[in-house]
Amino acid sequence: MQSNDYLVMKGICKSFSSVKVLKDCDFSVRKGEIHGFLGGNGAGKSTFMNILGGIYSKDAGEIFIDGKKVEIANPMQSMRHGISFIHQELKLFSMRSVADNIYMSSLPIKGFGLIDDKKENEMAKEWLERIELDVSPQTFVEDLSIAERQMVEIAKALSIQAQIFIFDEPTSSQTRKETQILFRIIRKLRDEGASIIFISHKFDEVFELCDRVTVLRDGKNVGTVNVAETNADELVNMVVGIRLEQYYPEVKKLPLEETALEVTNFRNRRLNDVSFSLKKGEVLGLFGLVGAGRSELARAIFGLDYISSGELRIYGKTRKITSPKEAMKNRIGFLTEDRRGEGLVLGMDINSNLNIPILKQLTIPVVNFLMKKKMDTNTRIAFDQFNIVASGPRQRVRLLSGGNQQKIVLGKWFLTDPDIFILDEPTRGVDIKVKADLYEQIVDLAASGRSVLFISSEAPELIGISHRILVMRNGRITGEYMRGDVTEEQLVRCAMGGEK
């Protein structure tokens, strides 16, 4: 341990319902440094920082600040130790003034317990001037831009005399100019002796801003390096590492020439001029980091999000899809990222869940009775097709494992007989064996002439089963790779913006 380490975290462990997210993780930051914190999706970055912020409690490990051992059990204690966590989703009162937001935890009081508004505004103004944010303390936060709101969070942090600042991907919704202002302020904080932890997905920012960088992979610290002595290649290697072998099914059939889905110039507030095409019988991988706009693209295609301009063609015909109903009519199926929230009715049994989208076809006209037999047949088809493991069709979905739940969502869409599947992170939180099952099913779907848009954060699985892979970053498609001609390093690099 170096003597000038201000914050030291040792042997931090954390599990969520038997899944080990952090495994004996160490980390330290010096006074007056900007320390980058890198890692792929699911590497444990957020969990680690949430422990420091008092949002999660650690299972094991020790935290030292300025040489003294400290306990952090809640956000208040974290604050008292001079730690300020600037979350990606800002914790602000949007309907209150900037001054109220800065001073909510210590509103200044004059006689009779009345708030001294004048003093509050004056004090707030001082902090706003220090971070060069040119808004009145009386402005309501809801009237500020996202970047300005972030500045308010920083002002709040300064007002409580924070010594350690955690920035969780602060630039993800900023313009270049706003980022530059933020960087200037972060540097100023450093020069005044603060310790700054900068969580990021983007290499260029790390190289531009940070002094040192720590990489996390699979819940472990895989190394801390001086930014001046490293390069993008080394960092990519640290982020990617060596993974366990996963079985992938053989991809024999090539996609057909016919284009199933064509997206041209999609734009909305999260998408920046996105165009691509999906061929019949193709598995098209879509890689990118969280927030790159992948799910938003899927939502826009499926009619869940508004698009301000752009064109959608299905088998050559222009279609305007503004609701999921229309998307389904055009035989598109969308497996959302949030299977428990959006994909399943957890309290109902498997049989009911599978048949929900097609209940209309299963109803005897006029009398509106359900055709039980037909439902059971459907369920049997889905059980066979997707290898669902359960005690029977009457089992409640809540009690199933994540993998089997996912198979049911897939089965549910399969029964509506779509032609184009959009799968958003279908293998997340699923164990290795079920993953292999899912891969096989995806490959089979494509082989049967359907088209699959396969969104994932795990590069190896995309490489394993996709015919072609697109990479998104910052609302745009930034790369396209063909099967057999791509490495994990290339994908990660493209997604993080470290191209040469």
Binding site: L92, F93, M104, G113, L144, R269, D273
Partner: protein
């Protein structure tokens, strides 16, 4: 992504003010007697009980909750106050008992909502039922309770041309204005309705504030019950049950958002006045009593609908922004 600092006002922003103006014009034509000073003073006195309870309701709604036990609390505390006056002949005992009991009922509400996390609709619905039953049991089988002439002092003393009930309301409202605008407690109420997580992240006990809001509402209902029974010289079965509907109407007409966190409380004073006026008007026009319920239902639905439409408009404007780098 820059937002436009000042979103342009669209038609819907003018909808509510124009309805109020139309309403005033309608009254001026239909019932000119309404705008005489004497009638206005009597409107204020009649509205006093609703007004006192609406103070509590404003806090509850600002915090993003609801309290539908308000009418039952006014009823039950009123019965307690007049019963105690009958047996002790002491106004102070009656007053203290009404306020303390109200506070206790509010504590049950607050505990259920903040600690047990039962939705406030369900918590207060249960308390509403308990108290309306309890009140009727206390009155006894005859169904009416007369507390005597001296009991009327509380609400029916004339001071500077206004009845004391109106003065009590005005004073409580001024106190409330100061609390909500100038104290930490007031700020926390808004903050809870805005973003409870953020308040917790500031290290402030949101639970405690929520309990306090319900307790204060209960105490205000206690005062309301006292004033109401004093105004009537006693009480009878089911009087003031269902008053929460008037209070909710007053609060939303006054411009406080049903989803919490937003609204100028000064508006509630006018909201109470408008509600009392509409009530007065319905009586002046001799409208069928059952029609009242229909009117109040429509008023609340309409006002909240306008608020929601406004919010949707804003969200739509936001969503239609185009990606910028």
């Amino acid at each position: 992504m820059m937002l436009k600092r000042f979103l342009p006002k669209s038609g819907i922003d003018y909808l509510k003010p124009s309805i109020v103006v139309l309403f005033a014009v309608f009254i001026a034509i239909k019932a000119p007697v309404f705008f005489t000073i004497n009638n206005l003073i009597s409107v204020l006195s009649q509205g006093a009980v609703i007004g006192i309870a609406s103070i509590g309701m404003s806090m509850v709604i600002l915090a993003g909750e609801i309290d539908i036990s308000v009418g039952a609390m006014v009823y039950c505390t009123g019965v307690i106050a007049s019963e105690l006056y009958l047996s002790t002949n002491n106004l102070i005992i009656s007053t203290v008992a009404a306020v303390v009991c109200g506070g206790f009922f509010g504590l049950i509400n607050g505990f259920g909502v903040a600690k047990l996390k039962i939705p406030s609709l369900i918590t207060t619905l249960s308390v509403c039922n308990i108290l309306s039953g309890l009140g009727s049991i206390l009155i006894g089988s005859e169904g009416t309770l007369s507390a005597g002439e001296r009991y009327k002092i509380i609400a029916q003393t004339k001071i500077l041309g206004l009845l004391s009930s109106a003065w009590i309301y005005i004073l409580l409202f001024l106190l409330f204005l100061i609390i909500i605008r100038k104290t930490r407690f007031g700020r926390y109420i808004y903050a809870i309705g805005d973003n409870q997580d953020a308040l917790r992240a500031c290290g402030i006990r949101a639970d405690f504030t929520i309990i306090m809001i319900f307790v204060l509402t209960g105490m205000l209902c206690g005062i309301g019950g006292l004033v109401n029974t004093s105004r009537l010289g006693g009480t009878q079965f089911n009087i003031s049950l269902g008053m929460e509907v008037y209070c909710i109407a007053a609060v939303v007409v006054g411009g406080i958002s049903m989803s919490g966190g937003r609204g100028n409380v000064l508006g509630v004073f006018f909201g109470v006045f408008i509600v009392a006026a509409l009530d007065n008007l319905l009586r002046l026009m001799g409208v069928n009593v059952y029609m009242y319920n229909v009117v109040w239902g429509i008023v609340i639905f309409g006002v909240v609908m306008i608020d929601i439409l406004k919010k949707k408009q804003k969200a739509r404007d936001l969503e239609r922004q185009v990606f910028e780098t």
